[in-house]
Symmetry: C2
Subunit: 164 residues, 2 copies
DNA sequence: TCTATCGTTTAAAACGTTTTAAACGATTAT
DNA sequence: ATAATCGTTTAAAACGTTTTAAACGATAGA
């Protein structure tokens, strides 16, 4: 393999890792996807270990994470005992499915948060002085604005569903 | 202050922190915003320290981060030597501006990555064998697909600009 | 001028996460 | 049956990030 071509690959792998980290993902997750994507053919665990210079356990772990996203699947290669891994080549698909599930989780998280807050306040109504009731009312109004934001996120989710 | 009302607040603050962490942000950044947002009036550094139970240095650091986002600004309060902090009450505005700058950075990052890769391959052309040239060509084709993704991200950015 | 009160900086401690090396069970070949 | 080759698990080490406590400079008041 030409060394400059290899240099280009390594640069690419390195950059991919940095990009992933800036998104809050594990470096190797993105790098695994990148290596498999660029290689254009299924690779074994050992080959991935070689290319990325990480431990077998680490690669195994992150490959499984990618599998759980539907970004990678293992394929059977005739005559070999090893597992081989292949990427889902439609990057858009991978991205959007991850984005959708992430967004969905966040929206639910915010909902739960608001509901819990409301419940506590509601259950406390009886014990509140007039002044505290006024404060509680203010809180609820501010929460309503957050709920609007949440609805916006839901809409964004819908946009993602449609366009991506 | 009624203790249930306080419980509700603390729950809310706690949840906000968790939400932020799941987005990859510092817990206190979101909590500071939440406390200021819910309080409805400017608060001093000391008051924020009290409410969140963190060190003064930590709060100072994170408040400045929020300021740099335009999510919080310091206000002058007559008769006090302290700085007081006030939130930008338009959550949508805060979100979208952060989202826009983040997305913009990522898109640029991907562009740089691809350009660098292309440059190296280009500069290596002379040294490549026919076989390697074929590989290089394949690489470029795969990169093109990534560039399409990048363009999609740019479009998403445009959508954010318009709708949010 | 001297003291008290601010917010910031800094160096170190605390913490959680990532990564590894080695052990392991399962499977296949000899 | 035994040995070799897989991928996974696990407990500990390495690492980076977060958080703190204390020192600090700046500013205002006595």
């Amino acid at each position: 393999m030409n060394s400059k071509l290899e240099t280009a690959q390594n640069k690419f792998i390195e950059s991919t890792g940095k990009l992933a980290e800036s998104f809050g993902f594990n470096k190797f997750i993105a790098q695994l996807y990148a290596v498999l994507y660029m290689s254009g053919k299924p690779l074994s665990l050992d080959e991935l270990v070689d290319k990325l210079g990480a431990s077998k356990g680490n690669i195994s772990l992150n490959i499984r994470e990618l599998e759980s996203w539907g970004a990678v699947k293992s394929v059977w290669v005739k005559g070999s005992r090893k597992d081989y891994y292949e990427v889902e080549p439609d990057i858009k698909k991978v991205f959007s499915s991850k984005l959708k599930s992430s967004l969905g989780k966040r929206v639910a998280q915010v909902s739960d948060m608001i509901e819990e807050f409301k419940d506590i306040i509601e259950s406390a109504q009886g014990e509140l002085t007039e002044e505290e009731k006024a404060i509680a009312k203010e809180y609820k109004e501010r929460l309503k604005k957050i709920e609007n934001m949440k609805n916006l996120a839901s809409k964004a989710l819908a946009i993602v569903e449609k366009f991506f």
